[in-house]
């Protein structure tokens, strides 16, 4: 219960009119509370999602190299006790370096990159770590209000050990001047919650003469069955 109350100030509300799309899509009736352990959890739910050997490297999915600044994004998936969640599916997707998604719904007048799709998957290792190689996504306009631009971000989809662990969120980049102006990020009431979505630049993740590195850890709800080693 304490965790649920804390989460109320961390998670965004459903209705946040500054993000216009919430107005007709947010439910208006209160959510019905059920004990979390009433939810079923299938064995690895994501087991049907195919994960290929190179799916973690978004720069090697085509014949040529994508344009843009090559980066490595790495971190750990942790449960509510801070324990690593191993062997769980992490899915990512993003715009290319010019701020355009390889999605037919995206009509932004920025170029597509024939060498970049912008979708990746991996499973966390035994220490709960994930690692993606990609290019830094560009900012893009989104018509929510006059002169509205999304800060550069990577979408993350995570499963974890329980039904209630399911999380879709976005990772942002440190120092992005658009961050304070973004209604989607500002929908999170607590500034500490917003900071949780901003990765850290990290020299240890950076590979010399190759790619800049960013670190971003994700905490999901629920309890990992993985025992703590040592």
């Amino acid at each position: 219960m304490i965790e649920r109350r804390q989460q109320e100030s961390i998670d965004p509300p459903y209705l946040y009119p500054d993000y216009r799309s919430t107005v007709l899509r947010a439910p208006r009736r209160p959510l019905v509370q059920i004990p979390p352990d009433f939810h079923v959890m299938p064995g690895p739910a994501f087991g049907r999602v195919p994960v290929g050997e190179l799916d973690h490297d978004l720069t090697r999915q085509h014949d040529g190299q994508p344009l843009g600044e090559r980066i490595i994004v790495s971190g750990r998936v942790l449960d509510g006790d801070g324990r690593p969640v191993s062997n769980t599916l992490v899915e990512v997707w993003q715009a290319n370096a010019a701020g355009r998604y390889a999605d037919p719904a995206d009509q932004h007048a920025a170029p597509l990159d024939p060498n970049f799709t912008g979708a990746g998957r991996c499973l966390t290792d035994s220490g709960g770590s994930y690692r993606f190689v990609t290019v830094k996504p560009g900012a893009y306009p989104w018509r929510n209000h006059h002169n509205a631009w999304r800060p550069a971000h990577i979408h993350f989809s995570l499963f974890g050990p329980e039904f209630t662990s399911r999380l879709i969120t976005q990772m942002y980049f440190p120092g992005d001047p658009l961050i304070p102006h973004d209604p989607i990020l500002r929908s999170i009431p607590d500034p500490r919650g917003r900071e949780r979505l901003v990765a850290s630049f990290d020299f240890d993740t950076t590979e010399p003469e190759w790619a800049l590195g960013y670190r971003w850890d994700v905490v999901i709800r629920g309890r990992s069955a993985t025992p703590v080693e040592g």
Binding site: Y14, L24, G47, R48
Partner: protein, 167 residues
Amino acid sequence: MTHSPTPSQTVGPFFGFALPFPLDADAVDPGDPRALRIEGQVLDGAGDPVPDALLEAWQTDAFARCRTDAEGAFHFVLRKPRPLTAPDGRAQAPHLNVTVFARGLLRQLVTRLYFPDEEAANAVDPVLNLVADPEARSTLVAANDGPGKLRFDVRLQGDRETVFFAI
């Protein structure tokens, strides 16, 4: 040390090239004699279709995912799950957990799909019985739509708004 969860953000409008995978909506082969086809539509508060939602159906032994089409329509092919025992020992009627992600949803919504041919089990289901209003409760029960077919619409807001659960 308590670790509070990372906040949620919307799935946005541009996941269609990334999250769907081959046969994602079919948890079982559509030719399976026990396969049920569930069809539905996601509607917003104006009654308009939501063409950019991602739904996931979860049962104890299966998982399916479906992106809505231009008409807001989705479908799942799966078997009816077995009844479950709740953690407190009471029987739960067969049901699916259904998760909805969409542009404009800053967090996922969670609902349940119950089966219309399980009236006796539904009548004593501890979760259905948390919803006192019969009209609201009826949003959680799929409708028969021909042999092996069920209909389950998801109304995000407004008249006959679907009941959603806190997780």
